[in-house]
Amino acid sequence: MSDKTTPSNNSFLNDAGNRALIFQILLLAMVVFAGYYLFSNLQANLDNRGISTGFSFFNEPAGFPILIHLIEYTEANTYGRAFVVALINTFVISLLGIILATIIGVIMGLARLSKNWLVARLATVYIETLRNIPLLLQMFFWYFAVLAALPAPRNSYEFADFLLNKRGIYSPNPISQDGFGLVIFGFILSLVASIGLIIWAKKRQTRTGLWFPAYWSSLGVIVGITFIFLAIAGFPIEFDLPQKSRFNVTGGMVLPPEFVAVLVALSTYTGAFIAEIVRAGILSVNWGQTEAARSLGLRDNLTQRLIVLPQALRVIIPPLTSQYLNLAKNSSLGAAIAYPELVAVVMGTTLNQTGQAIETIGLCMLVYGSLSLSISVFMNWYNNKMSLIER
């Protein structure tokens, strides 16, 4: 770059660009060397100690049970299948946790800004308490406190056909009978109809300015049409009711306390952080925007929905992404209270039965890495969509 002004120093090494390149190549070489050294050292040590390596154990029968499995799983299935079961459990708790934490966070964030003194103080107490207690402690609290408070299966609380006891929440399990296909057809039909309704309402509003309650009426359309088809098919559903047996409750569907405790702990903890993010986002929108909206004659809830929230979202989304990532990673703490997620099943039982520490831990790191990256990618896409479009 500068070689024209100083022709006497025109050597290869004196060029700033060349030098920068050389140092970058050297740095890269060192990183590659360090990585190669660590890897080959690991390989050599594993060989020396006669520890078998590889993922072939994935095809062997696992032999251990898993409490919560959303796909078919028995002890005779393979370690690979157990891994998938654990993966689904991690995804489910993360997804539900994110949804619940967002709902709690938005409500609590708005509550803390409320003009009602009591509501605002209660929200403050909630946020400050839950943000400042370690999550693991909260999980133990929900697990053992809930277990201690509930009755044994024999003395279950009963509401209609629902049972509540130390072993979980039991509900009737719907089992579809002949003719259920007709109901599914009706449900899909109602979905299509409601989407059509929403599109029509939007078009009409842009054309005439007249507003139509499209979302509420489409809910009515879905429920109504599905119910009509249910009636036509003669209600082809039977319920498997939970029954008290000698030890437990048999039949029905069960929500185990481990699942509930992890979900409650994750969503209330992260919800407290989200509440503060939401509050900060709303406060960041200039008061003049609200005043301008009011002078145009917009009601309070429309001011919030159409003017304040869309602008607040730009501030909210980036830190919200971090909270979602935290929640997904924190779900690994569920292992402590017997929720069979990835860390419990793969890094706990599978590692111990097979002794493949490097493989199982590497696999878990890969899964959490990709889970976090996908959340990140989705949130970045959403952030771009929401960001200010400059013209």
Binding site: Y37, I51, F64, L67, Y143, L147, K166, N248, T349
Partner: protein
């Protein structure tokens, strides 16, 4: 700048050669650092448990103290690393500890594929079930539909699954990461049954709010030979740990205890006892140990019977009968050690 990079590369190369040559004998390493690093449980009364002052005691702890006595003539030259079930093998494989004495079951897979060697059996155990007395359960075959709590990452998990499958009984597994929390879940009523090795059941029962309200069912559903584990490949170290255990069994068989060993050493005419206590022959040198190493083990830690009585015997809260762990010369016992010769 360039020369700095060169230095870095050469230090990295030196580091590579050092770590490649680091696998000297464990005995030399232990002698050099002056203590035995022993991996134990996070708290199983009678096996390895720390009191409020941090003093460890138990059968597994005594296995490490015996090795320390054999090498240094002092049972206190041991440092303990408490490990959960799932951490234990990695800690030993990586060289963080020298001996793993953590009520660990000797199984084929563990011996063959983990790069580990089992040394000897210091406790013959078997898995059992504990239930509340008021459930009125008398046999494990009555457990159809029960919820079962257990600790994660042990042979217990697999034995439990095998038992219920074999007998076509349904059950709900609750597998908790640490033993204490598994027990707390059982105590709080999450489970009907708590399952682990029978010795563990007896030990954990002492921690429950009301120990007398719980009963251990008669069935033993598995063989659980427990013993200290060492890294594969250092045969000398393995022999030291193995024979530290064997001399304790031999001592009990010969009627030598920590109380009479000094007297017997002076007075005996029995060549077998003289060999054992290092008065005659050169038994110590074969393992690079002091000539009186076995004498030290017996004098400082005691014979196997003493270790058993002190830690888990009927006079302790754990209150286990000798059972299979009696000497082979007694009814029902299988504890047997090869001769010192």
């Amino acid at each position: 700048m360039k020369s700095n990079v060169g230095k870095l590369l050469s230090t990295a190369a030196i580091a590579a050669t050092i770590s490649a040559g680091a696998a000297a004998s464990t005995l030399e390493d232990v002698k050099a650092k002056g203590f035995v690093q022993c991996g134990v449980s996070t708290g199983v009364p009678g096996f390895s448990n720390a009191d409020d002052k941090g003093n460890w005691s138990g059968i597994d702890v005594d296995a490490c103290r015996a090795v320390s006595s054999a090498i240094f003539g002092d049972p206190q030259k041991v440092k303990f690393t408490p490990l959960s079930a799932k951490e234990r093998f990695t800690a030993l494989q990586s060289g963080e500890i020298d001996i793993l004495a953590r009520n660990t079951t000797w199984t084929y897979t563990r011996d063959a594929s983990l790069g580990l060697d089992f040394t000897a059996v210091n406790f013959y155990d078997g898995q059992g079930f504990m239930v509340r007395k008021d459930l009125g359960v008398e046999s494990a075959m009555d457990l159809d539909g029960a919820t079962v709590c257990t600790e994660q990452g042990t042979t217990t998990e697999l034995n439990m699954a095998d038992f219920f499958r074999k007998n076509k009984l349904s059950y709900v597994p609750v597998v908790v990461q640490k033993a204490d929390e598994a027990l707390a879940a059982y105590d709080s009523g999450r489970c009907d049954v708590y399952t682990t090795d029978k010795s563990g059941l007896a030990a954990h029962r002492t921690k429950l709010a009301d120990p007398s309200a719980h009963v251990i069912l008669p069935e033993t559903i598995s063989k659980e030979p427990l013993g200290p584990v060492v890294r594969h490949g250092d045969n000398q170290w393995k022999d030291i740990v193995t024979w530290s255990m064997f001399v304790q069994v031999n001592a009990e068989e010969m009627g030598i205890s920590s109380k009479n060993v000094a007297k017997i050493k002076k007075e005996t005419n029995d060549p077998g006892i003289k060999r054992l206590l290092g008065v005659e022959g050169d038994m110590g040198a074969q393992l690079e140990l002091p000539a009186d190493w076995a004498y030290n083990v017996i004098a400082k830690v005691g014979n196997y019977g003493e270790v058993f009585e002190r830690n888990v015997g009927p006079s302790t809260p754990v209150d286990l009968p000798r059972g299979l762990n009696a000497l082979w010369t007694e009814a029902g016992g299988i504890m047997y050690a090869p001769p010192v010769r």
